[in-house]
């Protein structure tokens, strides 16, 4: 439970308690994305710099 709260605070989006929510909370039109948060997350946890090679190419160039 703690981890999904952690992710929601980091990325944005809606955090829903599936045992207690109102219908307007789950309307997708009310769920806006934050491009700034998304890009920050991608930079911090998904890729490294401007690298556009998949891992196998990186490993090949290394050895």
């Amino acid at each position: 439970m703690k981890y999904s709260i952690f992710l929601q605070r980091l990325i944005g989006g809606k955090l829903i308690n599936i045992n207690d929510y109102s219908l307007d909370q789950i309307d997708i039109n009310q769920n806006k994305i934050s491009i700034k948060n998304y890009n920050r997350y991608i930079k911090n946890y998904i890729k490294f710099g401007k690298n556009s090679d998949p891992n196998y190419k990186i490993i090949n160039s290394l050895l």
Binding site: I5, L7, G13, K14, I26, D27, I28, I46, P54, Y56
Partner: protein, 337 residues
């Protein structure tokens, strides 16, 4: 020209999914690849959980003793001038340390990978304040005592084998492939050569040029499912989740029904690699399940629902909105076995 021998050191039985995500087929274009797995030596108690969708490729070798493996490596060393290894072993027991030390002794170049694909609490300290941190720690202690105990044991082992032993013996890899700027700091002081890398999901995103549309219309939301039912990573902690099947999935099913009704869309399920391959999921209102199709599903969806899947990175890359969920009625009761 004789190609370099690349050995993949893997702790568990290797699944088709692992072959795909670690790009072993692509690596075979450049190297002679062998996969050495040590399930029988390192984690025999996990054997029952790693038996589905296994790869049957003929370059996979299972070892039953470290001595057997060492002899095999010495023979390979005589025949091959160039040998390298990609290491996926955890440094949490004597046998894996023994394997890594032997690689050093044989002067085999080793690459480690650090690309968890999800953030860890310690690098995002500002997300929870001090009071929240204590609240969750105390709650975890009372509701998940066994988990906390088993996790602490692992952390102590890791500290001993990695930090403490490193003072006396050199266990460092020649290279470490790291994905994510935030994780750089963890390795900056280690004096290991850091290589800019990607998570396995992002690497797949870069690798697949034409992402197929597997559902004709785009009027759907994707649930990035966790492992289950009747299986969870909690099994690794020698614990089990009770009432999971009925309470947890029926709550999710109701939630999906409401999502479908309000947004006039259907929900499809991106199955977890540890889950059973099923076309229609009886435990989630007979909704359609897709195995190993998260990237394709997310690309064309309207939104994503997840608890904490690494595949959420696809949603970020394709700029999709999220629903994260929690539940309060069902306390995740983790019982002692």
């Amino acid at each position: 020209m004789d190609r370099r021998l690349l050995i993949i050191l893997y702790p568990f039985n290797i699944r088709k999914f692992d072959i795909e995500r670690y790009e072993i087929i692509q690596l075979q274009n450049y190297f002679r690849v062998e996969i050495h797995h040590f399930h029988n030596i390192l984690y025999p108690n996990f054997k029952n959980f790693y038996y589905k969708n296994l790869s049957k490729k003929n370059n996979i070798i299972s070892f039953n003793s470290i001595g057997h493996w060492k002899n095999y490596i010495l023979k390979k060393k005589d025949k091959n001038k160039k040998i390298s290894a990609i290491n996926f072993l955890f440094k949490d027991n004597i046998s894996s340390i023994n394997i890594l030390l032997f690689l050093k002794k044989c002067k085999i170049t080793r690459i480690d990978i650090f690309n968890p694909g999800l953030p860890i609490y310690s690098v995002e300290k500002k997300i929870f304040n001090v009071y929240e941190n204590y609240f969750y720690k105390i709650k975890n202690f009372f509701f998940s005592t066994k988990y906390v105990f088993e996790n602490s044991k692992i952390l102590i082992k890791k500290f001993f084998f990695w930090n403490f032993l490193n003072l006396f013996i050199n266990l460092k890899p020649d290279f470490i492939l790291v994905a994510g700027k935030k994780y750089l700091d963890l390795f900056k002081k280690s004096k290991i050569y850091i290589v800019n890398g990607n998570t396995t999901d992002y690497s797949k995103y870069l690798r697949i040029k034409n992402i197929k549309k597997i559902i004709k219309d785009s009027n759907y939301g994707v649930f990035l499912a966790a492992a289950g039912p009747n299986f969870s990573d909690y099994l690794f902690w020698k614990t089990k989740m009770v009432d999971l099947y009925e309470e947890y999935y029926s709550s999710l099913d109701r939630f999906f029904t409401d999502l479908e009704k309000i947004n006039k869309i259907k929900i499809v399920i991106a199955l977890h690699p540890k889950s059973k391959k099923e076309k229609y999921l009886s435990y989630l209102g007979n909704r359609k399940g897709y195995y190993d199709r998260s990237l394709e599903l997310v690309k064309n969806c309207k939104f994503v629902v997840t608890f904490a899947s690494t595949s959420l990175s696809y949603a970020l890359l394709f700029k999709k909105p999220f629903f994260f969920y929690i539940q309060t009625i069902l306390k995740i009761k983790i019982q002692q076995k």
